[in-house]
């Protein structure tokens, strides 16, 4: 498969960033990088979750978010947030072809999640090709 792979050092850097995010907010229990067309790239999960399925779903959800924004004549979709009774799933574009997803329990502060994710995307975008 001619899939986007990341180098060993890239992988290490991602893991460091993921660990920092989990450190900054203990509510965060999953961070995932996948491609816009739904393949998983790398992840850090504290609980077991179906990676391949989530990667495909996050691709769909983010694309729908962007499409809905366009249909409603709003500009640039920044995040898609799924808020559930026991947690949050926040997803956003990472560069052109990647997607970052942050999964957190309900005690997370949504504002903090925004900031964490935004900062992570900036850091990751700089170092991922």
């Amino acid at each position: 498969m001619n899939q986007p792979r990341i180098s060993e050092s890239g992988e290490k850097f991602c893991q460091e960033v993921f660990a920092q995010m989990m450190e900054q907010s203990h509510a965060v229990y999953g961070v995932l990088i996948s491609t816009v067309d739904g393949h998983d790239v790398t992840k850090r999960f504290k609980r077991e979750m179906p990676v391949a399925k989530l990667s495909a779903m996050m691709g769909s959800v983010l694309a729908l978010g962007e499409t809905i924004a366009r249909e409603a004549q709003q500009e640039r979709c920044r995040y898609v947030i799924v808020e559930n009774s026991d947690g949050f799933i926040l997803t956003l574009k990472l560069k052109e072809k990647l997607v970052l997803t942050v999964i957190a329990s309900a005690d997370a502060n949504l504002g903090l999640l925004h900031t964490l994710s935004r900062n992570a995307v900036e850091k990751l975008a700089k170092s991922l090709k």
Partner: protein, 175 residues
């Protein structure tokens, strides 16, 4: 019936997005994203959630068309999109290695939906590849114990897409 919802499915590159764009009266809704795998050799973008378009038939009947993603990993979208649907258009790309197997795969995955509704099969890219023969497709359908309409189409042409829709609607009406 005031509105009819139809679903279009088939392999990546079979022409689902193209078909909806060719016939929709309003600008179609698309969710295409950059391809990052082997498919990138064939096309730059692929549908990751859905396509949507609408049209009005001669008798005033409103038709909503929903296109699915092609890849198996988006199977969850197939299940969401068929809800409330009244029929399926299955596009089979004849330029691929084994179009008959492709047809089987989608017939199998949409079997429950097809049983409740109806299906029309559209053979695409016939300009690039004339085989398998139309008879081979009918023979393969025999295994499914039913006959479904099979049409050779160029989904870039509005008339061809319209042909499939009309065939499907007659199939549903007389089922």
């Amino acid at each position: 019936m005031s509105e009819i919802k139809l679903i279009i499915t088939g392999t990546p590159g079979a022409g689902k997005t193209t078909a909806i764009a060719a016939i929709s009266e309003t600008p179609p809704v698309r969710t295409d994203q950059a391809t990052t795998d082997d498919l990138a050799d064939l096309k730059e973008e692929t549908t990751v959630a859905m396509d949507f378009g609408d049209l009005t038939l001669e008798d005033g009947q409103k038709v909503f068309l929903y296109g699915t993603p092609g890849q198996r990993r988006f199977e969850f979208m197939w299940k969401i999109l068929v809800q409330g649907g009244l029929g399926l258009i299955l596009l089979v790309d004849c330029s691929r290695d084994d179009p008959l197997a492709d047809m089987d795969m989608y017939l199998e995955n949409f079997a429950d939906f097809i049983e409740e509704t109806g299906v029309v099969i559209g053979l695409t890219r016939r300009d690039e590849c004339e085989s398998p023969d139309l008879d081979d497709f009918y023979e393969r359908l025999d295994r499914w114990g039913t006959v479904f309409p099979i049409l050779e189409v160029d989904v870039r042409k509005r008339e061809d897409v319209s042909l499939m829709i009309n065939a499907l609607i007659s199939t549903i009406e007389f089922a």
